[in-house]
């Protein structure tokens, strides 16, 4: 039964959200994000299909390669170049951000029950998973000080939006999907360069230092 498998995958992705919130080491954060990307890439194949659709397979492959290999590779390179391994002093520390993420996940599940969804989407965890991933992304974006962690937050946020997009996979043109994926890849590529520049200019990736002006 593909609905159960899909729910299992979304559940795993939600678990990875919490792992990303709780891990202090950047490599494990990047690993969580890339694993979530691969899980998300498999999901279009698990949705109910009446006919074989080559566009869906293409989207799935592109997502898996993009989110699972290319983007994490870029992030790892930026990490090595900047020589940071660990988020030292986040704005929101790990236990509170874990509790926030868990509260957000539960709220997302409760909220999705109250939404007027189409009957074919009511049984799946797609909507709660999407909301929970976006909340996790927000928490990472707000709560972390290192630029690379913030990029990971942005990626998880984008994963949440992608989960929403899965609801409409048959009506969204392939061009839009690939456009989003390309945007994200280019975004991460650019951020990788910026991270390198920040590191050279400020000797640190702490975004708190960016708020003070320097000549």
């Amino acid at each position: 039964m593909s609905g159960g498998t899909l729910n299992l995958f979304i559940g795993l992705a939600m678990g990875l959200n919490l792992l990303a919130l709780g891990s202090s080491r950047l490599p494990s954060l990047i690993r969580a994000v890339s694993l979530q990307g691969v899980l998300l890439g498999v999901m279009p194949l698990l949705l109910e299909h009446d006919t074989f659709d080559w566009r869906v397979v293409l989207v799935a492959l592109a997502t898996m390669v993009g989110k699972g290999l290319v983007i994490p590779g870029l992030l790892r390179r930026a990490m090595r170049a900047a020589n940071v391994e660990r988020e030292m002093a986040p704005f929101i520390s790990y236990v509170p951000s874990l509790l926030l993420g868990a509260g957000g996940t539960i709220a997302a599940v409760a909220l999705a029950r109250g939404l007027p969804l189409l009957p074919e989407h009511a049984g799946t965890l797609l909507v709660p998973g999407a909301i929970a991933s976006m909340l996790t992304g927000f928490i990472l974006l707000i709560g972390r000080a290192k630029a690379i962690s913030q990029v990971c937050g942005y990626l998880i946020l984008e994963n949440g939006i992608y989960l929403f997009g899965l609801l409409l996979i048959h009506s969204t043109p392939l061009l839009v999907e690939s456009g989003i994926l390309l945007d994200v890849t280019v975004g991460v590529f650019v951020i990788g360069i910026i991270v390198d520049r920040i590191q050279r200019a400020f000797d640190s990736l702490d975004t708190r230092k960016l708020t003070t002006l320097r000549e």
Binding site: G22, L98, V109
Partner: protein
């Protein structure tokens, strides 16, 4: 008459089998490290030796120093009496006995901490403070786990709560309860039962000044607690009620052995966590149980 016989039989099972578990854990650790290790029955020898020895009492200590371990031991045995044993059911069961179980465990912890403070040593006070501050988080996790079982089965009695499996959330619940087991019994990621370095130990600090029979009661109580948590974990996860009686008994014994070996392997492969990382792990255990509760709630409402 029959009831008294059943209670005595159960008491004998818990009293006699519990000290086996630490022996098995030590054997597994020795085997992984390539040593021969102490015999599996080592704790029985230790208990017999301690029972014959005298007690050294501090001049500061009140009778609570002796009473604490005794009350803790009795409370743990009482909790063990409430726990059903697979197909054997339970000797006494009533509505809400799971709450009594949680409170008996808390009483045992309180008495151990109290007896530790009786010595008047700041060092043991520190150990008691650590134990209690971890227990706050571990108790939240176990209460959530019990709540999720209760929601799953719609009952507050241990026999009916534990006979079916925990449903879809069983994996989450198993991981959460295993972490709680490690924390509650002071096993490795939280505490090292072998260490005697003053800055790192928790449980061992509290019992440092006990000797003779009270120490034997504490050690035996700790092994009963370990067996209690292993039995709880296995019964919460496996659908023992759906199996035939011999199969369920076999599954229970095999499960408890597997948990014990698992503890030994965790202890061989992991190092102790730094103190400031412990709350994170315990919060994770709490969240695992919370999500098991969520799955039970959502699955039950469908």
């Amino acid at each position: 008459m029959n009831l008294i016989l059943a209670v005595i039989l159960r008491l004998a099972v818990w009293l006699l089998l519990a000290p086996l578990l630490p022996g098995i854990i030590n054997k597994v650790k020795a085997w992984v490290a390539g040593r021969r290790g102490p015999p599996v029955l080592q704790l029985y020898y230790d208990l017999a030796k301690l029972w014959r020895k005298g007690v050294v009492l501090s001049t500061l200590a009140s009778p609570g120093f002796i009473a604490g371990p005794a009350v803790a031991w009795v409370a743990l045995l009482g909790a063990a009496m409430l726990m059903p044993l697979g197909p054997g059911g339970t000797a006494l069961s009533f509505r809400g006995d799971v709450l009594l179980l949680i409170y008996l465990l808390a009483l045992a912890r309180f008495c151990t901490a109290w007896a530790a403070m009786e010595t008047g040593s700041a060092f043991e006070g520190m150990g008691a403070a650590r134990e209690v501050s971890y227990a706050v988080l571990a108790e939240a996790a176990i209460v959530t786990a019990v709540l999720s079982l209760s929601v799953q089965t719609g009952s507050v009695s241990l026999v009916t709560m534990l006979s079916p499996s925990a449903g879809a959330g069983a994996v989450l619940l198993a991981a959460g309860l295993f972490t709680v087991l490690l924390a509650e019994n002071c096993r490795v990621p939280f505490d090292d039962p072998n260490t005697h370095l003053e800055l790192t130990m928790i449980h061992e600090v509290m019992v440092l000044d006990h000797s003779g029979p009270p120490l034997a009661a504490i050690l035996h109580g700790a092994s009963v607690k370990l067996l209690l948590f292993a039995v709880l974990l296995i019964q919460a996860v496996l659908p023992l009620g759906a199996l035939s009686a011999p199969a369920a008994a076999g599954a229970l014994v095999a499960g408890v052995l597997a948990v014990t070996v698992g503890v030994g392997l965790v202890e061989s492969w992991l190092a102790r966590l730094a103190f400031r990382r412990v709350p994170l792990l315990l919060t994770t255990a709490f969240l695992l149980c919370l999500f098991a509760l969520l799955v039970a709630w959502k699955g039950g409402a469908k």
